[in-house]
Symmetry: C2
Subunit: 204 residues, 2 copies
DNA sequence: GATAAAAATCGACATCATGTAGAGTTTGAG
DNA sequence: CTCAAACTCTACATGATGTCGATTTTTATC
């Protein structure tokens, strides 16, 4: 390992607590799938992570904070992926690519997305996180619509408002479909893509 | 009072309990607006209705049952209104009428609709209620699309699947807009109507 | 209007999850 | 080795839920 100065960051790190923290989040995700948010108790999470309730409160101040951290972790992953995506100029390709990416994301993280949506109202931090995420999508959809010739602007029949409605359509459709099966998610995606295309005036 | 046979139904009725039950539901609705579902406690509801917790449990088995009853009451009203609606043959008119009616419903009952949606996942009865309501909408939208010339069927680009996606678009868009203001709800409605029209191939 | 059954109400209790506090143990840098 | 920070635990306080049995009020009927 030549020239391997740990410098200042990247120390011996990986404190024991970091492992625990990850274990807590992982357990939380698993339990969310098994019993759902309400049924899942702080004791359950602690037990699953191999510690006691008291120890868990050292890491997180409440059940809500745990879930918020889980959502943050997942959503951050989504943001990175979004940034890394190459933009296409041709609207039809851009739409197809976006839908493909969205299906992947929901296949991987559907559970966390759904709980994020469910808790958006009651947990402000999660609401903020999800709202920001939706904002990214809306911006992206708006851009595609404009490039396809839809008039820019925020009036009801202009790009921005349409993008918002399309975003909610996709969110909700995926929310339901991802609860059922991958096939349904794929089909739902096709339907959404079709409506998006038609709305952009790109009828084949 | 000549010939006034109360017959069998329509008795002296209106038991005291019926009044209380309504008071409980009304209080619940008010509290839902004030503090939201989580913050609202069974004690709060009882107090608002002028009884003690113990008495409330004579009427409803749990907080969830109270809210379920509230949702049922509201949704039943919606169903009646739907049945009573005259059907139009001309798709454009049918769409405009449907959106107008939907705006009215959300203006009146937006709060209850939103809580119904929020609790659909955790309270199965409410989920069932809301899912049936969505079903009505989807059926209606499907009919309009088919009359407008969209191919019938459940494949991704056929009427049934499109109707489902459009229904979720409207639900989610109204969910958000109804939290903001009547103006926004009206604008959101215009946008949804436009996308619906375009999807039906009825571009002006 | 007296009366008995049904309807409605109450206060006390048991339970359970949450979050807090403080004491004790492990870990790692110097 | 030693001390401080990181970590963990048990015990406790709180607050909401839901249950129970006793008691009072309504209501239908004679």
């Amino acid at each position: 390992m030549p020239g391997n100065h740990p410098a200042r960051s990247r120390r011996t790190t990986e404190r024991k607590g970091d492992v625990r923290e990850r274990a807590i989040l992982d357990t939380c995700e698993a339990l969310l799938a098994q019993k759902g948010y309400d049924a899942m108790t702080v004791g359950d999470i602690a037990q699953g992570a191999g510690i006691t309730r008291g120890a868990l409160y050292f890491y997180f101040g409440s059940k809500q904070e745990v879930v918020t951290a889980l959502v943050a972790r997942t959503v951050e992953h989504l943001w990175e992926r979004s940034r890394a995506t190459a933009e296409t100029d041709e609207p039809r390709q851009a739409i197809a690519a976006a839908m493909r990416r969205t299906v992947e994301l929901w296949n991987e993280h559907g559970l966390v997305f759904r709980t994020a949506i469910d808790l958006s109202l009651t947990v402000p931090e999660i609401g903020e996180l999800w709202s920001r995420t939706a904002g990214l999508f809306i911006t992206a959809i708006t851009a595609v619509l404009e490039r396809a010739g839809i008039q820019a602007g925020t009036e009801p029949e202009q790009a921005s408002a349409m993008a918002r409605a399309l975003c909610w359509m996709i969110e909700r459709t995926f929310y339901h479909a991802s609860q059922e099966s991958r096939e349904n998610l794929q089909k739902a995606s096709s339907t959404c893509e079709h409506i998006w295309l038609v709305s952009a005036g790109l009828t084949a």
